[in-house]
Amino acid sequence: MCTMIATQIPITGSGKKQDGWFVLREANVSYDHPFHAPNEHTLNLDFVNEALGPGARVAVELDVASARALVEAITAVLAKADTGGYIVD
């Protein structure tokens, strides 16, 4: 059953669909039914631009282990970039 566990954050970046790149404005993170993955629930990432309509979406559905591994990988890569002095906010 749908969990309704979802949150949205504003983001800055670009995403690529089959027909090309578009500007991303929001990321939706949910733990709920996937559309394609074979699991009952997955960690779902939807990178979207709501102003462009529902079709402006890059979607990812991950099982829990993959989602946790991704979080760790992102954190590790950012830490390395930080340590190397590459991040200049």
Partner: protein, 252 residues
């Protein structure tokens, strides 16, 4: 029972109906040809949206002789593929309960007033659609039966309540005005067997007519032939239970 020399015909099309607050929404309407009178059913789609499975099920009911109307509960959220629209709704925490009940009321009105209707209308839903079906059957007079297929969050704890879903549907059970058919998988995580027990206890406490079927070795969504959760034997038996229930409640 169908025989091969029998005439059959249905029409299926997208129509506009008046939903909550009189808003225009679209709906998929499949119905038998011929003068009727036909029994009817509102088909409420699940969280993954107004998708192919739901259009096929709407067709299936029409094939079995029902005026079947499936409102697009996500109409206000824009248009695109059903998945993209459903993903947008998912990110927003779903649709508001009162809006859904208003949209279902609109579908009920269309079916009761249709010139080929026998005036008897059931409501069917799976997953969140079953939750919405239960909510609607409690809040709207006029349904002759409700089919709850693995509706989760009918029984909710305080932490699950939100602005959009402020009351657990089970708490409206006192005002439920029609018999319930419940189809559940014992391996489902929501509703769990304990959730189903709690719903059954509420129906019993309020003296409501209900019939529950709980299937072993089946989990959530075991009718969905396009998902690994599909369980052929349990699904076929479940469909038989559904059509037997409809025979008793709306095909009369």
């Amino acid at each position: 029972m169908y025989e091969t020399n029998q005439y059959e015909g249905i029409i299926a099309e997208t129509v506009m109906i008046a939903g909550h607050n009189g808003d225009d929404i679209n709906a998929y309407f499949a119905r038998p040809l011929g003068p009727g009178p036909h029994p009817a059913i509102v088909v409420i789609h699940h969280m993954p949206g107004w998708d192919l499975w739901y259009r096929e099920v709407t067709h299936k009911f029409a094939h079995h002789g029902y005026l079947a109307l499936s409102p697009n509960l996500y109409y206000r959220d824009g248009h695109g593929t059903p998945e993209d629209v459903a993903a947008k709704v998912r990110a927003g925490g779903g649709v508001a309960d009162n809006q859904v009940v208003g949209d279902v009321a609109g579908a009920l009105r269309v079916l009761r007033n249709h010139p080929t209707s026998n005036g008897k209308v059931a409501v069917f839903g799976t997953c969140s659609g079953a939750r919405h079906a239960y909510l609607s059957a409690c809040q709207l007079p006029g349904f002759a039966g409700i089919i709850d297929c693995w509706g989760g969050r009918i029984v909710m704890n305080e932490q699950e309540l939100s602005v959009k879903q402020p009351v657990a549907p089970v708490d409206y059970t006192a005002t439920l005005s029609c018999p319930v058919l419940g189809i559940f998988g014992d391996e489902d995580f929501n509703p769990t067997p304990d959730h189903v027990n709690a719903l059954e206890a509420a129906l019993k406490a309020h003296g409501k007519s209900y019939e529950f079927h709980r299937y072993p070795e089946a989990g959530h969504g075991f009718f969905y032939y396009d998902r690994p959760a599909y369980r052929q034997a349990q699904a076929m038996d479940g469909w038989q239970k559904i059509f037997a229930f409809l025979d008793r409640t709306v095909r009369i």
